[in-house]
Protein backbone atom coordinates (compact mmCIF):
# COMPACT_ATOMS: atom_id res chain seq x y z
CA UNK A 1 0.00 0.00 0.00
CA UNK A 2 1.26 3.46 -0.91
CA UNK A 3 0.58 6.85 0.60
CA UNK A 4 0.72 9.94 -1.61
CA UNK A 5 0.40 13.39 -0.02
CA UNK A 6 -0.64 16.51 -1.91
CA UNK A 7 0.85 19.51 -0.09
CA UNK A 8 2.06 23.06 -0.52
CA UNK A 9 3.81 25.57 1.70
CA UNK A 10 1.58 28.41 0.56
CA UNK A 11 -2.17 28.09 0.97
CA UNK A 12 -4.57 28.30 -1.95
CA UNK A 13 -2.25 26.88 -4.60
CA UNK A 14 -4.77 24.18 -5.53
CA UNK A 15 -4.10 21.22 -3.22
CA UNK A 16 -7.75 20.37 -2.71
CA UNK A 17 -8.69 20.99 -6.34
CA UNK A 18 -6.04 18.55 -7.53
CA UNK A 19 -6.71 16.06 -4.71
CA UNK A 20 -10.40 15.94 -5.61
CA UNK A 21 -9.66 15.38 -9.29
CA UNK A 22 -6.98 12.75 -8.58
CA UNK A 23 -9.35 10.90 -6.23
CA UNK A 24 -11.93 10.68 -8.99
CA UNK A 25 -9.41 9.57 -11.61
CA UNK A 26 -7.92 6.97 -9.25
CA UNK A 27 -11.32 5.59 -8.27
CA UNK A 28 -12.03 4.67 -11.88
CA UNK A 29 -9.24 2.08 -11.78
CA UNK A 30 -8.97 0.85 -8.21
CA UNK A 31 -10.25 1.13 -4.66
CA UNK A 32 -8.59 3.85 -2.60
CA UNK A 33 -8.98 5.70 0.68
CA UNK A 34 -8.78 9.48 0.68
CA UNK A 35 -7.77 11.42 3.77
CA UNK A 36 -8.07 15.16 4.39
CA UNK A 37 -5.29 16.11 6.78
CA UNK A 38 -6.18 19.80 6.85
CA UNK A 39 -8.03 19.33 10.13
CA UNK A 40 -8.29 23.08 10.75
CA UNK A 41 -10.30 23.74 7.60
CA UNK A 42 -11.09 20.56 5.72
CA UNK A 43 -12.54 21.11 2.25
CA UNK A 44 -11.98 17.78 0.52
CA UNK A 45 -15.13 16.24 2.06
CA UNK A 46 -17.09 19.12 0.49
CA UNK A 47 -15.46 18.66 -2.91
CA UNK A 48 -16.05 14.90 -2.88
CA UNK A 49 -19.52 15.05 -1.34
CA UNK A 50 -18.71 12.99 1.71
CA UNK A 51 -21.49 11.33 3.65
CA UNK A 52 -20.36 10.91 7.22
CA UNK A 53 -20.96 7.44 8.64
CA UNK A 54 -18.78 7.54 11.75
CA UNK A 55 -17.82 10.21 14.26
CA UNK A 56 -15.46 9.87 17.17
CA UNK A 57 -14.63 12.47 19.76
CA UNK A 58 -10.99 13.53 19.61
CA UNK A 59 -9.80 14.31 23.13
CA UNK A 60 -7.96 17.58 23.52
CA UNK A 61 -5.26 18.63 25.89
CA UNK A 62 -6.22 19.24 29.47
CA UNK A 63 -6.69 22.75 30.78
CA UNK A 64 -6.01 24.07 34.27
CA UNK A 65 -9.09 24.98 36.29
CA UNK A 66 -9.19 26.89 39.58
CA UNK A 67 -11.73 25.39 42.00
CA UNK A 68 -14.33 27.87 43.15
CA UNK A 69 -13.60 29.44 46.57
CA UNK A 70 -10.44 27.31 46.99
CA UNK A 71 -7.87 29.90 45.85
CA UNK A 72 -6.00 31.50 48.76
CA UNK A 73 -4.59 34.25 46.57
CA UNK A 74 -0.94 33.30 47.22
CA UNK A 75 -0.02 34.02 43.58
CA UNK A 76 2.54 31.18 43.43
CA UNK A 77 0.86 29.83 40.31
CA UNK A 78 1.67 33.08 38.48
CA UNK A 79 5.40 32.36 38.50
CA UNK A 80 4.96 28.72 37.55
CA UNK A 81 3.13 29.52 34.30
CA UNK A 82 5.29 30.28 31.27
CA UNK A 83 2.37 31.01 28.97
CA UNK A 84 0.97 34.08 30.76
CA UNK A 85 -2.25 32.16 31.18
CA UNK A 86 -2.87 33.10 34.82
CA UNK A 87 -3.90 36.45 36.20
CA UNK A 88 -5.26 37.57 39.55
CA UNK A 89 -8.81 38.88 39.62
CA UNK A 90 -9.70 41.96 41.68
CA UNK A 91 -11.22 39.70 44.33
CA UNK A 92 -7.79 38.12 44.82
CA UNK A 93 -8.49 34.77 43.13
CA UNK A 94 -6.45 33.32 40.27
CA UNK A 95 -8.08 33.12 36.88
CA UNK A 96 -6.90 30.88 34.00
CA UNK A 97 -7.15 32.09 30.43
CA UNK A 98 -8.10 28.83 28.75
CA UNK A 99 -6.94 30.07 25.34
CA UNK A 100 -3.44 30.71 26.64
CA UNK A 101 -3.26 27.60 28.88
CA UNK A 102 -1.31 24.75 27.26
CA UNK A 103 -2.35 22.25 29.93
CA UNK A 104 1.21 21.58 31.10
CA UNK A 105 0.16 21.30 34.74
CA UNK A 106 3.11 23.27 36.16
CA UNK A 107 0.69 25.45 38.17
CA UNK A 108 -1.06 22.59 40.02
CA UNK A 109 1.85 21.53 42.28
CA UNK A 110 2.80 25.19 42.78
CA UNK A 111 -0.60 25.99 44.30
CA UNK A 112 -0.47 26.28 48.08
CA UNK A 113 -4.10 25.36 48.59
CA UNK A 114 -4.56 22.55 46.08
CA UNK A 115 -7.08 24.68 44.21
CA UNK A 116 -5.86 23.93 40.68
CA UNK A 117 -6.79 20.78 38.82
CA UNK A 118 -6.53 19.78 35.18
CA UNK A 119 -9.63 18.92 33.24
CA UNK A 120 -9.85 17.29 29.82
CA UNK A 121 -11.39 19.12 26.90
CA UNK A 122 -12.77 17.77 23.67
CA UNK A 123 -10.70 19.19 20.83
CA UNK A 124 -12.50 17.87 17.79
CA UNK A 125 -13.76 14.90 15.88
CA UNK A 126 -12.35 12.14 13.74
CA UNK A 127 -14.80 11.46 10.93
CA UNK A 128 -15.20 8.72 8.40
CA UNK A 129 -17.58 8.14 5.55
CA UNK A 130 -18.23 7.47 1.92
CA UNK A 131 -17.66 9.89 -0.90
CA UNK A 132 -17.78 9.71 -4.67
CA UNK A 133 -14.31 8.11 -4.83
CA UNK A 134 -14.96 5.58 -2.04
CA UNK A 135 -13.91 5.74 1.60
CA UNK A 136 -12.88 9.06 3.13
CA UNK A 137 -11.36 9.93 6.51
CA UNK A 138 -11.00 13.45 7.85
CA UNK A 139 -10.77 15.44 11.03
CA UNK A 140 -12.35 18.59 12.30
CA UNK A 141 -10.62 20.43 15.07
CA UNK A 142 -12.84 22.77 17.01
CA UNK A 143 -11.80 26.33 16.17
CA UNK A 144 -9.07 27.49 18.54
CA UNK A 145 -8.05 24.07 19.83
CA UNK A 146 -4.50 22.78 19.69
CA UNK A 147 -3.16 19.30 18.94
CA UNK A 148 -3.81 19.55 15.22
CA UNK A 149 -0.72 17.41 14.56
CA UNK A 150 -2.08 14.67 16.76
CA UNK A 151 -5.46 14.70 15.03
CA UNK A 152 -3.67 14.55 11.66
CA UNK A 153 -1.83 11.45 12.87
CA UNK A 154 -5.15 9.88 13.90
CA UNK A 155 -6.60 10.63 10.45
CA UNK A 156 -3.62 8.97 8.77
CA UNK A 157 -3.67 5.94 11.03
CA UNK A 158 -7.39 5.47 10.47
CA UNK A 159 -7.00 5.84 6.71
CA UNK A 160 -4.18 3.30 6.64
CA UNK A 161 -6.15 0.78 8.72
CA UNK A 162 -9.19 1.26 6.51
CA UNK A 163 -7.16 0.74 3.33
CA UNK A 164 -5.75 -2.49 4.72
CA UNK A 165 -9.20 -3.66 5.72
CA UNK A 166 -10.69 -2.88 2.31
CA UNK A 167 -7.72 -4.16 0.32
CA UNK A 168 -7.09 -0.71 -1.14
CA UNK A 169 -3.53 -0.12 -2.23
CA UNK A 170 -3.58 3.67 -2.17
CA UNK A 171 -4.11 6.32 0.48
CA UNK A 172 -4.42 9.76 -1.10
CA UNK A 173 -3.81 12.55 1.40
CA UNK A 174 -4.85 16.19 0.96
CA UNK A 175 -2.39 18.02 3.23
CA UNK A 176 -2.61 21.27 5.18
CA UNK A 177 -0.78 24.46 4.16
CA UNK A 178 2.50 25.45 5.82
CA UNK A 179 5.53 23.50 6.95
CA UNK A 180 4.86 23.20 10.69
CA UNK A 181 3.47 20.59 13.03
CA UNK A 182 0.38 19.44 11.05
CA UNK A 183 2.40 19.29 7.82
CA UNK A 184 5.15 17.23 9.42
CA UNK A 185 2.46 14.88 10.76
CA UNK A 186 0.89 14.69 7.29
CA UNK A 187 3.98 13.80 5.30
CA UNK A 188 6.19 11.79 7.69
CA UNK A 189 6.55 8.24 6.42
CA UNK A 190 4.64 8.87 3.18
CA UNK A 191 5.81 7.22 -0.04
CA UNK A 192 5.56 10.37 -2.08
CA UNK A 193 4.81 14.06 -1.82
CA UNK A 194 3.40 16.11 -4.63
CA UNK A 195 4.17 19.77 -3.95
CA UNK A 196 1.63 22.06 -5.61
CA UNK A 197 3.31 25.32 -6.53
CA UNK A 198 1.92 28.42 -8.15
CA UNK A 199 4.00 30.79 -10.24
CA UNK A 200 4.40 33.73 -7.88
CA UNK A 201 7.13 35.12 -5.66
CA UNK A 202 5.30 33.72 -2.63
CA UNK A 203 4.70 30.38 -4.31
CA UNK A 204 8.38 29.93 -5.07
CA UNK A 205 9.51 31.02 -1.60
CA UNK A 206 7.14 28.60 0.11
CA UNK A 207 7.93 25.71 -2.26
CA UNK A 208 11.59 25.92 -1.30
CA UNK A 209 10.72 25.62 2.38
CA UNK A 210 8.43 22.63 1.80
CA UNK A 211 11.03 20.83 -0.32
CA UNK A 212 13.69 21.34 2.35
CA UNK A 213 11.32 19.87 4.92
CA UNK A 214 10.44 16.85 2.77
CA UNK A 215 14.14 16.16 2.24
CA UNK A 216 14.76 16.36 5.99
CA UNK A 217 11.97 13.82 6.46
CA UNK A 218 13.28 11.73 3.53
CA UNK A 219 9.99 11.80 1.66
CA UNK A 220 10.46 11.72 -2.14
CA UNK A 221 9.01 14.84 -3.70
CA UNK A 222 7.81 15.94 -7.13
CA UNK A 223 6.38 19.29 -8.14
CA UNK A 224 3.30 20.28 -10.10
CA UNK A 225 3.02 23.84 -11.36
CA UNK A 226 -0.58 24.95 -11.00
CA UNK A 227 -2.05 28.09 -12.63
CA UNK A 228 1.07 27.77 -14.78
CA UNK A 229 0.26 30.56 -17.24
CA UNK A 230 -0.72 33.12 -14.59
CA UNK A 231 2.63 34.86 -14.84
CA UNK A 232 5.15 33.86 -17.51
CA UNK A 233 7.96 35.54 -15.61
CA UNK A 234 7.22 33.81 -12.29
CA UNK A 235 6.60 30.46 -14.02
CA UNK A 236 10.01 30.60 -15.70
CA UNK A 237 11.60 31.37 -12.38
CA UNK A 238 9.85 28.44 -10.76
CA UNK A 239 10.91 26.05 -13.51
CA UNK A 240 14.49 27.26 -13.07
CA UNK A 241 14.22 26.70 -9.31
CA UNK A 242 13.07 23.11 -9.87
CA UNK A 243 15.96 22.49 -12.22
CA UNK A 244 18.47 24.04 -9.81
CA UNK A 245 17.14 22.02 -6.90
CA UNK A 246 17.07 18.77 -8.85
CA UNK A 247 13.29 18.57 -8.52
CA UNK A 248 11.19 16.84 -11.10
CA UNK A 249 8.42 19.02 -12.45
CA UNK A 250 5.89 16.30 -13.12
CA UNK A 251 3.52 18.54 -15.01
CA UNK A 252 1.79 21.87 -15.38
CA UNK A 253 -1.87 22.78 -15.05
CA UNK A 254 -2.92 25.95 -16.84
CA UNK A 255 -4.91 28.66 -15.11
CA UNK A 256 -8.40 27.42 -15.87
CA UNK A 257 -11.25 29.70 -14.86
CA UNK A 258 -13.67 26.81 -15.25
CA UNK A 259 -11.89 24.56 -12.78
CA UNK A 260 -13.13 26.15 -9.57
CA UNK A 261 -16.78 26.38 -10.64
CA UNK A 262 -16.53 22.74 -11.77
CA UNK A 263 -15.21 21.79 -8.36
CA UNK A 264 -18.03 23.70 -6.71
CA UNK A 265 -20.59 21.96 -8.88
CA UNK A 266 -18.97 18.67 -7.95
CA UNK A 267 -19.56 19.67 -4.34
CA UNK A 268 -23.19 20.51 -4.89
CA UNK A 269 -24.58 17.83 -7.13
CA UNK A 270 -23.72 14.36 -8.28
CA UNK A 271 -21.82 15.07 -11.44
CA UNK A 272 -18.99 12.65 -10.88
CA UNK A 273 -19.38 10.96 -14.25
CA UNK A 274 -19.61 14.12 -16.26
CA UNK A 275 -16.74 15.82 -14.52
CA UNK A 276 -14.15 13.15 -15.00
CA UNK A 277 -15.38 11.60 -18.23
CA UNK A 278 -16.92 14.19 -20.42
CA UNK A 279 -15.94 17.61 -19.13
CA UNK A 280 -12.95 18.56 -21.07
CA UNK A 281 -11.51 21.78 -19.77
CA UNK A 282 -7.76 22.37 -20.18
CA UNK A 283 -7.29 22.08 -16.39
CA UNK A 284 -9.02 18.72 -16.13
CA UNK A 285 -7.14 17.35 -19.11
CA UNK A 286 -3.79 18.40 -17.64
CA UNK A 287 -4.68 16.99 -14.22
CA UNK A 288 -5.58 13.64 -15.76
CA UNK A 289 -2.27 13.24 -17.54
CA UNK A 290 -0.41 14.26 -14.37
CA UNK A 291 -2.34 11.64 -12.44
CA UNK A 292 -1.24 8.98 -14.94
CA UNK A 293 2.38 9.98 -14.37
CA UNK A 294 1.89 9.95 -10.60
CA UNK A 295 0.48 6.44 -10.75
CA UNK A 296 3.51 5.11 -12.56
CA UNK A 297 5.78 6.94 -10.10
CA UNK A 298 3.99 5.29 -7.19
CA UNK A 299 4.05 1.89 -8.87
CA UNK A 300 7.82 2.17 -9.33
CA UNK A 301 8.63 3.50 -5.86
CA UNK A 302 9.79 0.77 -3.50
CA UNK A 303 7.63 -0.21 -0.58
CA UNK A 304 10.33 1.04 1.74
CA UNK A 305 8.38 2.45 4.60
CA UNK A 306 6.98 0.40 7.38
CA UNK A 307 6.86 3.19 9.92
CA UNK A 308 3.61 4.73 8.72
CA UNK A 309 2.57 8.06 10.06
CA UNK A 310 4.52 9.53 12.91
CA UNK A 311 3.64 12.67 14.79
CA UNK A 312 7.29 13.44 15.24
CA UNK A 313 10.53 12.04 14.01
CA UNK A 314 11.21 10.86 17.53
CA UNK A 315 14.85 11.74 17.45
CA UNK A 316 15.99 12.36 20.99
CA UNK A 317 17.28 15.86 21.63
CA UNK A 318 21.05 15.82 21.91
CA UNK A 319 21.72 15.66 25.58
CA UNK A 320 24.51 16.92 27.68
CA UNK A 321 27.48 14.57 27.76
CA UNK A 322 26.02 11.82 25.61
Amino acid sequence: MKTLVIASGKGGTGKTTLSALFARFAAQARPLVVADCDVEASNLPLALRAEVTSREAFPGSEKAVVGEDLCSGCERCLDSCRFDAISMLVDGAARIDEWACEGCGACAPACSSGAISLEPRQAGELLGGECCSGAIVFGQLQPGQDLSGKLVTSVRERAKALAEEQGADLVLVDGPPGIGCPVIASISGADGLLAVAEPSLSGEHDLRRLVTLSRQLRVPVKVVLNKADLSAEAADKLRATCHEEGLELIGEVPFDEELLPTLERMAQEDVSETVTDTEDSPGIRAARSIWERLESWLAESPQHRSAGPAFVRLSPAPSNGS
Partner: protein, 305 residues
Protein backbone atom coordinates in the same frame (compact mmCIF):
# COMPACT_ATOMS: atom_id res chain seq x y z
CA UNK B 1 -13.14 53.90 33.01
CA UNK B 2 -13.92 54.62 29.39
CA UNK B 3 -11.34 57.38 29.14
CA UNK B 4 -8.84 55.03 30.78
CA UNK B 5 -9.50 52.48 28.05
CA UNK B 6 -8.98 55.06 25.39
CA UNK B 7 -5.79 56.21 27.05
CA UNK B 8 -4.54 52.64 27.10
CA UNK B 9 -5.56 52.09 23.52
CA UNK B 10 -3.74 55.22 22.40
CA UNK B 11 -0.56 53.88 23.94
CA UNK B 12 -1.09 50.43 22.50
CA UNK B 13 -2.35 51.57 19.14
CA UNK B 14 -5.01 49.71 17.20
CA UNK B 15 -4.39 46.11 16.15
CA UNK B 16 -6.02 44.38 13.19
CA UNK B 17 -5.50 40.66 12.58
CA UNK B 18 -6.00 39.69 8.93
CA UNK B 19 -7.04 36.04 8.93
CA UNK B 20 -8.82 33.23 7.10
CA UNK B 21 -9.39 29.54 7.67
CA UNK B 22 -8.66 28.67 4.07
CA UNK B 23 -5.24 29.31 2.59
CA UNK B 24 -4.74 31.49 -0.45
CA UNK B 25 -7.80 33.69 -0.02
CA UNK B 26 -5.70 36.86 -0.03
CA UNK B 27 -4.63 37.53 3.56
CA UNK B 28 -1.16 38.64 2.57
CA UNK B 29 -2.51 40.72 -0.31
CA UNK B 30 -4.92 42.54 2.03
CA UNK B 31 -2.41 42.92 4.88
CA UNK B 32 0.43 44.30 2.73
CA UNK B 33 -1.72 46.70 0.69
CA UNK B 34 -3.66 47.94 3.71
CA UNK B 35 -0.47 48.49 5.70
CA UNK B 36 1.21 50.52 2.99
CA UNK B 37 -1.96 52.45 2.21
CA UNK B 38 -2.40 53.42 5.88
CA UNK B 39 1.29 54.36 6.14
CA UNK B 40 0.96 56.59 3.07
CA UNK B 41 -2.10 58.21 4.65
CA UNK B 42 0.13 59.34 7.51
CA UNK B 43 -0.39 56.67 10.17
CA UNK B 44 2.55 55.02 11.91
CA UNK B 45 2.12 51.38 10.92
CA UNK B 46 3.75 48.08 11.84
CA UNK B 47 3.01 45.04 9.69
CA UNK B 48 3.72 41.76 11.48
CA UNK B 49 3.98 38.57 9.43
CA UNK B 50 2.60 35.92 11.78
CA UNK B 51 2.41 33.25 9.06
CA UNK B 52 5.71 31.95 10.39
CA UNK B 53 5.55 28.70 8.40
CA UNK B 54 5.29 30.52 5.07
CA UNK B 55 6.08 34.21 5.65
CA UNK B 56 5.69 36.20 2.44
CA UNK B 57 5.10 39.85 3.40
CA UNK B 58 8.83 40.60 3.09
CA UNK B 59 8.75 39.70 -0.60
CA UNK B 60 6.79 42.88 -1.31
CA UNK B 61 9.04 45.38 0.47
CA UNK B 62 12.67 46.39 0.48
CA UNK B 63 13.63 46.32 4.12
CA UNK B 64 17.06 46.48 5.64
CA UNK B 65 16.22 43.98 8.33
CA UNK B 66 17.81 43.16 11.65
CA UNK B 67 17.43 39.52 12.72
CA UNK B 68 17.22 37.95 16.14
CA UNK B 69 16.70 34.36 17.10
CA UNK B 70 13.71 32.85 18.89
CA UNK B 71 14.59 30.29 21.52
CA UNK B 72 12.51 28.08 23.75
CA UNK B 73 13.67 26.31 26.91
CA UNK B 74 13.81 22.54 26.77
CA UNK B 75 15.02 20.18 29.49
CA UNK B 76 18.53 18.86 29.30
CA UNK B 77 19.17 15.34 30.52
CA UNK B 78 21.96 14.97 33.09
CA UNK B 79 25.24 13.45 31.88
CA UNK B 80 25.19 10.75 34.56
CA UNK B 81 22.37 8.45 35.60
CA UNK B 82 20.00 10.29 37.94
CA UNK B 83 20.97 10.09 41.61
CA UNK B 84 17.33 9.77 42.65
CA UNK B 85 16.60 7.05 40.10
CA UNK B 86 13.01 8.24 39.97
CA UNK B 87 10.65 8.93 37.08
CA UNK B 88 9.19 12.21 38.36
CA UNK B 89 10.09 14.19 35.23
CA UNK B 90 8.50 11.65 32.92
CA UNK B 91 5.40 11.34 35.07
CA UNK B 92 5.01 15.13 35.24
CA UNK B 93 5.29 15.74 31.52
CA UNK B 94 1.82 15.85 30.00
CA UNK B 95 3.13 15.88 26.46
CA UNK B 96 4.99 12.55 26.54
CA UNK B 97 8.25 14.35 25.78
CA UNK B 98 10.38 12.49 28.32
CA UNK B 99 11.23 8.81 28.47
CA UNK B 100 13.56 7.11 30.90
CA UNK B 101 16.29 5.23 29.06
CA UNK B 102 19.35 3.78 30.78
CA UNK B 103 18.44 5.25 34.14
CA UNK B 104 18.17 8.83 32.93
CA UNK B 105 15.65 10.94 31.08
CA UNK B 106 15.73 11.21 27.30
CA UNK B 107 14.03 14.29 25.87
CA UNK B 108 12.02 14.27 22.65
CA UNK B 109 12.17 17.95 21.90
CA UNK B 110 9.48 17.96 19.18
CA UNK B 111 6.91 17.04 21.79
CA UNK B 112 8.19 19.45 24.46
CA UNK B 113 6.17 22.62 25.09
CA UNK B 114 8.94 24.25 27.13
CA UNK B 115 6.72 24.57 30.19
CA UNK B 116 9.45 23.71 32.73
CA UNK B 117 7.20 21.45 34.81
CA UNK B 118 9.74 18.60 34.62
CA UNK B 119 12.60 20.68 35.97
CA UNK B 120 10.37 21.84 38.85
CA UNK B 121 9.42 18.22 39.57
CA UNK B 122 12.97 16.80 39.67
CA UNK B 123 13.69 16.02 43.36
CA UNK B 124 17.45 15.78 42.77
CA UNK B 125 17.52 19.08 40.90
CA UNK B 126 19.64 17.59 38.09
CA UNK B 127 17.24 18.29 35.24
CA UNK B 128 18.35 21.67 33.89
CA UNK B 129 16.99 23.53 30.89
CA UNK B 130 18.73 25.00 27.91
CA UNK B 131 17.54 27.33 25.20
CA UNK B 132 17.01 25.87 21.75
CA UNK B 133 16.53 27.90 18.60
CA UNK B 134 13.18 27.38 16.82
CA UNK B 135 13.05 30.40 14.53
CA UNK B 136 13.95 34.00 13.93
CA UNK B 137 12.43 37.46 13.84
CA UNK B 138 13.44 40.07 11.29
CA UNK B 139 12.48 43.68 11.70
CA UNK B 140 13.13 46.86 9.80
CA UNK B 141 11.56 49.76 7.97
CA UNK B 142 10.90 50.18 4.26
CA UNK B 143 11.48 53.49 2.49
CA UNK B 144 7.98 54.90 3.08
CA UNK B 145 8.24 54.42 6.83
CA UNK B 146 6.24 51.20 7.19
CA UNK B 147 7.81 48.94 9.80
CA UNK B 148 7.87 45.24 8.93
CA UNK B 149 8.36 42.48 11.49
CA UNK B 150 8.63 38.93 10.13
CA UNK B 151 8.43 35.76 12.19
CA UNK B 152 10.05 32.74 10.56
CA UNK B 153 9.86 29.19 11.91
CA UNK B 154 12.97 27.11 11.27
CA UNK B 155 12.29 24.31 8.79
CA UNK B 156 11.59 21.05 10.60
CA UNK B 157 10.50 22.80 13.81
CA UNK B 158 6.97 22.43 15.15
CA UNK B 159 6.75 25.28 17.69
CA UNK B 160 5.06 28.01 15.65
CA UNK B 161 3.16 29.79 18.49
CA UNK B 162 6.31 30.88 20.40
CA UNK B 163 7.66 32.42 17.17
CA UNK B 164 4.36 34.25 16.61
CA UNK B 165 4.31 35.54 20.19
CA UNK B 166 7.91 36.73 19.88
CA UNK B 167 7.18 38.52 16.58
CA UNK B 168 4.30 40.35 18.28
CA UNK B 169 6.52 41.24 21.23
CA UNK B 170 9.22 42.65 18.93
CA UNK B 171 6.51 44.62 17.11
CA UNK B 172 5.42 46.18 20.40
CA UNK B 173 8.92 47.43 21.15
CA UNK B 174 8.19 50.44 18.95
CA UNK B 175 4.87 52.20 19.36
CA UNK B 176 2.64 52.32 16.27
CA UNK B 177 -0.83 53.78 15.77
CA UNK B 178 -1.78 50.78 13.67
CA UNK B 179 -0.48 47.22 13.89
CA UNK B 180 -1.52 44.75 11.20
CA UNK B 181 -1.03 41.06 11.93
CA UNK B 182 -0.93 38.82 8.86
CA UNK B 183 -2.23 35.52 10.27
CA UNK B 184 -1.41 31.98 9.13
CA UNK B 185 -4.19 30.00 7.45
CA UNK B 186 -6.19 27.75 9.76
CA UNK B 187 -8.12 28.00 13.00
CA UNK B 188 -5.90 26.24 15.56
CA UNK B 189 -3.18 27.31 17.97
CA UNK B 190 -1.22 29.47 15.50
CA UNK B 191 -4.37 31.39 14.62
CA UNK B 192 -5.19 31.85 18.30
CA UNK B 193 -1.65 33.11 19.03
CA UNK B 194 -2.15 35.70 16.28
CA UNK B 195 -5.72 36.76 17.02
CA UNK B 196 -5.55 37.06 20.79
CA UNK B 197 -5.72 40.65 21.94
CA UNK B 198 -6.47 42.09 18.48
CA UNK B 199 -8.99 44.94 18.32
CA UNK B 200 -10.47 43.72 15.05
CA UNK B 201 -10.31 40.45 13.11
CA UNK B 202 -10.51 41.08 9.39
CA UNK B 203 -11.56 37.84 7.70
CA UNK B 204 -10.60 37.50 4.05
CA UNK B 205 -12.71 35.08 2.04
CA UNK B 206 -13.66 34.07 -1.48
CA UNK B 207 -17.17 33.44 -2.79
CA UNK B 208 -16.93 29.65 -3.02
CA UNK B 209 -18.44 26.85 -0.94
CA UNK B 210 -14.93 26.28 0.45
CA UNK B 211 -14.40 29.92 1.31
CA UNK B 212 -17.74 30.06 3.13
CA UNK B 213 -17.12 26.82 5.05
CA UNK B 214 -13.79 28.11 6.35
CA UNK B 215 -15.17 31.60 7.01
CA UNK B 216 -17.81 30.09 9.28
CA UNK B 217 -15.08 28.38 11.33
CA UNK B 218 -13.20 31.66 11.71
CA UNK B 219 -16.33 33.55 12.75
CA UNK B 220 -16.84 30.88 15.40
CA UNK B 221 -13.23 31.32 16.55
CA UNK B 222 -13.44 35.12 16.69
CA UNK B 223 -16.65 34.87 18.73
CA UNK B 224 -15.14 32.32 21.12
CA UNK B 225 -12.22 34.70 21.66
CA UNK B 226 -14.63 37.61 22.14
CA UNK B 227 -13.18 39.62 19.25
CA UNK B 228 -15.09 41.80 16.79
CA UNK B 229 -14.88 40.49 13.22
CA UNK B 230 -15.45 41.96 9.78
CA UNK B 231 -15.13 40.52 6.28
CA UNK B 232 -13.27 41.33 3.08
CA UNK B 233 -14.61 39.51 0.03
CA UNK B 234 -11.82 38.79 -2.44
CA UNK B 235 -12.14 37.48 -6.03
CA UNK B 236 -15.75 38.54 -6.23
CA UNK B 237 -17.39 37.07 -9.33
CA UNK B 238 -15.55 33.74 -9.33
CA UNK B 239 -17.67 31.45 -7.15
CA UNK B 240 -21.25 30.41 -6.62
CA UNK B 241 -21.73 31.47 -3.02
CA UNK B 242 -23.39 34.60 -1.69
CA UNK B 243 -20.95 35.87 0.94
CA UNK B 244 -22.76 39.19 1.33
CA UNK B 245 -25.93 37.30 2.26
CA UNK B 246 -24.03 35.29 4.85
CA UNK B 247 -22.51 38.45 6.34
CA UNK B 248 -25.98 40.01 6.55
CA UNK B 249 -27.40 36.97 8.29
CA UNK B 250 -24.57 37.03 10.82
CA UNK B 251 -24.52 40.83 11.26
CA UNK B 252 -20.91 40.87 10.09
CA UNK B 253 -19.77 44.09 8.44
CA UNK B 254 -18.60 43.44 4.85
CA UNK B 255 -15.93 46.12 4.55
CA UNK B 256 -14.60 45.59 1.02
CA UNK B 257 -15.32 43.65 -2.15
CA UNK B 258 -12.41 43.08 -4.48
CA UNK B 259 -13.45 41.71 -7.87
CA UNK B 260 -11.47 38.96 -9.57
CA UNK B 261 -9.22 40.33 -12.24
CA UNK B 262 -6.64 38.15 -13.89
CA UNK B 263 -4.25 41.03 -14.40
CA UNK B 264 -4.37 41.80 -10.66
CA UNK B 265 -3.38 38.21 -9.87
CA UNK B 266 -0.64 38.38 -12.48
CA UNK B 267 1.00 41.58 -11.20
CA UNK B 268 0.67 40.39 -7.61
CA UNK B 269 2.39 37.11 -8.54
CA UNK B 270 5.31 39.18 -9.76
CA UNK B 271 5.60 40.96 -6.43
CA UNK B 272 3.72 44.19 -7.06
CA UNK B 273 1.24 45.66 -4.63
CA UNK B 274 -2.26 46.26 -5.91
CA UNK B 275 -2.32 49.88 -4.74
CA UNK B 276 0.63 50.54 -7.06
CA UNK B 277 -0.17 48.31 -10.01
CA UNK B 278 -3.86 49.19 -10.50
CA UNK B 279 -5.57 52.57 -10.01
CA UNK B 280 -8.70 50.80 -8.74
CA UNK B 281 -6.54 49.02 -6.18
CA UNK B 282 -5.94 52.30 -4.44
CA UNK B 283 -9.69 52.96 -4.41
CA UNK B 284 -10.49 49.56 -2.87
CA UNK B 285 -7.96 50.02 -0.09
CA UNK B 286 -8.92 53.61 0.52
CA UNK B 287 -12.50 52.38 0.94
CA UNK B 288 -11.39 49.57 3.24
CA UNK B 289 -9.28 51.93 5.36
CA UNK B 290 -12.18 54.39 5.70
CA UNK B 291 -14.56 51.56 6.57
CA UNK B 292 -12.20 50.22 9.25
CA UNK B 293 -11.82 53.68 10.74
CA UNK B 294 -15.52 54.29 10.88
CA UNK B 295 -16.58 50.89 12.20
CA UNK B 296 -13.83 50.56 14.77
CA UNK B 297 -12.72 52.29 17.89
CA UNK B 298 -10.09 54.04 15.77
CA UNK B 299 -12.81 56.61 15.23
CA UNK B 300 -13.13 57.05 19.01
CA UNK B 301 -9.41 57.52 19.26
CA UNK B 302 -9.38 60.24 16.67
CA UNK B 303 -12.29 62.01 18.30
CA UNK B 304 -10.66 61.71 21.69
CA UNK B 305 -7.27 62.90 20.43
Amino acid sequence: MVSGDLEKRREKGFTIAVASGKGGTGKTMVATNLALFAARSGASVTLVDCDVEAPNDHLFFQVDARAETVEVPIPEAPAEACPSGCTACRDTCRFGAIRILGGKPTVFSELCHGCGACALACPAGVLAERLVRVGEIESGRESEGLRLVTGRLDIGEVKAPPVIREARRVAEEEAAELTILDAPPGAACSAVATLQGADLVLLVTEPTAFGLHDLELMVELARALGLPAAVVLNREGTGLVDIAGYCDSQSLPLLARIPFDRSVAERYAEGELLIDSHPEGELWFSGLWQAIKSTSALADRETAA
